[in-house]
């Protein structure tokens, strides 16, 4: 970014703030964000306007345009809440409430996050084990692969209540059934990615291991596993995001007492759109953070594997 200044020592000033911002990611991301907010505000005004006009009519109240706009952006139960309302709700429920309280979004996030992570862990393990089996045993490839693929053609919304009910009947409630739904969703990308990854070594590399008379396990640990790392991390990024979706979906059919899914459900029962949006944005933020964490982990691992920076 400073090459301009370095190559042109005579120049009085470096590139301006605007140029520097637009060169990296910061500038474009900010512009996009501002654009989104503008569209959001305009949308909020127009979507909440009919309701507000009704209210004025019923109260036989006079109004000016500025009053109308202000009112549409500050309704109690707007069709589309304005960003600042969502922000205020999030501040109130995240920072201004004790985290042990049932009104705290941190509490609900943790409930969802714990089953997300449990499901993600089990799903990843299951996905890897399936891939290892499929790559090494021809029978498994022929028998298992069609099932792995067809498992994902069943709508999760249809199967989630059944999992909850069935597991509930055998006494499993709360964390585990939700984690199972996450597992069900997130093992799939891991299996598909790892089958591809474990098969990624060249013929020549496999021949090389053969000339050393390496056992299957030696070939696995020295060659197949390290070769599959880029594939694993690509899969994990998808898996962890849909794992969160699975946990939230798992909270819906039970009318769950806690969790982001429960907040969404309660919000829609009582028309608390601000609460819905706050839970929604929190979920999105948590998903993004988890993907970032996987990305950082990937960077560390690949760096240790000597991948070109």
């Amino acid at each position: 970014m400073t090459t301009d200044a370095a190559t042109l020592p005579a120049a009085r000033t470096g590139p301006g703030l605007w140029t520097r911002m637009m060169k990296g990611q910061t500038g474009p991301v900010c512009v996009m964000l501002i654009g989104l907010f503008v569209i959001w505000y305009i949308g909020a005004i127009f979507m909440n306007m009919p309701g507000q006009l009704d209210r004025y009519a019923r109260a036989k109240q006079d109004w000016t345009v500025s009053q109308l706009v202000e009112a549409t952006l500050n309704q109690d139960r707007p069709v589309l809440p304005a960003p600042h309302q969502v922000a205020a709700e999030m501040y109130k429920t995240i920072f201004a409430t004790k985290i042990t309280s049932k009104r705290s979004l941190v509490y609900h996030t943790w409930v969802t996050l714990s089953s997300t992570l449990l499901g993600f862990g089990i799903g990843t393990l299951l996905g890897i084990l399936l891939a290892v089996g499929i790559v090494h045993v021809l029978t498994l490839e022929k028998s298992l692969m069609p099932w792995v693929i067809s498992s994902q053609t069943i709508p999760i919304l249809a199967i989630a209540p059944m999992i909850i009910v069935v597991l509930g009947a055998i006494g499993l409630k709360g964390l585990v059934p939700k984690a199972m739904i996450s597992t069900y969703l997130c093992f799939f990308p891991v299996t598909i990615g790892m089958v591809k990854g474990l098969r990624s070594p060249d013929h020549i590399q496999l021949d090389l291991m053969r000339t050393y008379n390496a056992s299957r396990w030696q070939t696995f640990f020295a060659l197949r596993w390290p070769s599959s790392m880029p594939f694993l991390f690509a899969s994990l990024k998808v898996a962890i995001a849909i794992s969160l979706v699975g946990a939230i979906v798992g909270e819906l059919p039970t009318g769950a007492q806690a969790g982001l899914g429960a907040r969404l459900l309660a919000g829609s029962y009582y028309g608390q759109t601000v609460q819905i949006w706050a839970a929604l944005l929190t979920a999105a933020f948590v998903a993004a953070m988890m993907v970032v964490v996987v990305g950082l982990f990937e960077k560390r691992v690949l760096e240790r594997m000597g991948v070109r920076a």
């Binding site: 020549i204 090389l208 291991m209 000339t211 050393y212 008379n213 390496a214 594997m305 000597g306 991948v307």
Partner: protein, 275 residues
Amino acid sequence: MTLQAVVNNVAPMPASKDVVVDIQKMSLTFQTADGPVYALSDVDLTINRGDFVSFIGPSGCGKTTLLRVIADLERATAGDILINGVSPRQAREDRAYGYVFQAPALLPWRSIERNVTLPLEIMEISKEERVKRAHDALKLVELNGFEKKFPWQLSGGMQQRASIARALSFDADLLLMDEPFGALDEIVRDHLNEQLLKLWARTNKTVAFVTHSIPEAVFLSSKIVVMSPRPGRIIDVIETDFAKDRTLDIRETPEFLEVAHRVREGLRAGHSYDD
């Protein structure tokens, strides 16, 4: 072993200890969707300890396949093959040879040193010993000082040298090389040829070397096997007697040109220039 007895009856060998590779009437046919492909037909070949044998011929003549049969990467469909007096499979399980492929095939996530120690890890040799042997092997190919570098930090020629060091690291007496310098430019190739020759003279290993370059074959070999395609077969075996410490200068000598001429004649007789 009965197989050995049979082979000894058919063709009595002088002091079998000096024969490293003994191939009798070997054929290999690949069954493909378009019908059988006769990759090798009726091959007889003996490689003695300390030989530097080159296989030369046009593509499709089965020279790489022959090397892969010796390495037990392909199985012959007929004939007898003995490596150090045992079957190719047994020889592979004994780790009787080091194999150098057309590409370096280094594992990109391992440093050069850890690439060289890979076979030693698989053979479950102690870490101390591994590092020592890697050091020695890298010194043989003049790559000492590059232990901690990763493959992508090395040039193509250096990567191929590292892969030779890897094949040398467990000190097998037989070195099988499949066009190891085929992808390198002329100057690098000349340099590596000289280095390889020095290595051969110093270690007294047996080398089987696949190439499609006539000068390379003549310069390196003590024995040149000329092959021809469709079906892959041996049409001439030429013994040379250049000094072990020869340099690239011998390529200008009449003897060298004479051998090169005979190789070319052999290739022509096998209709290698038809198409």
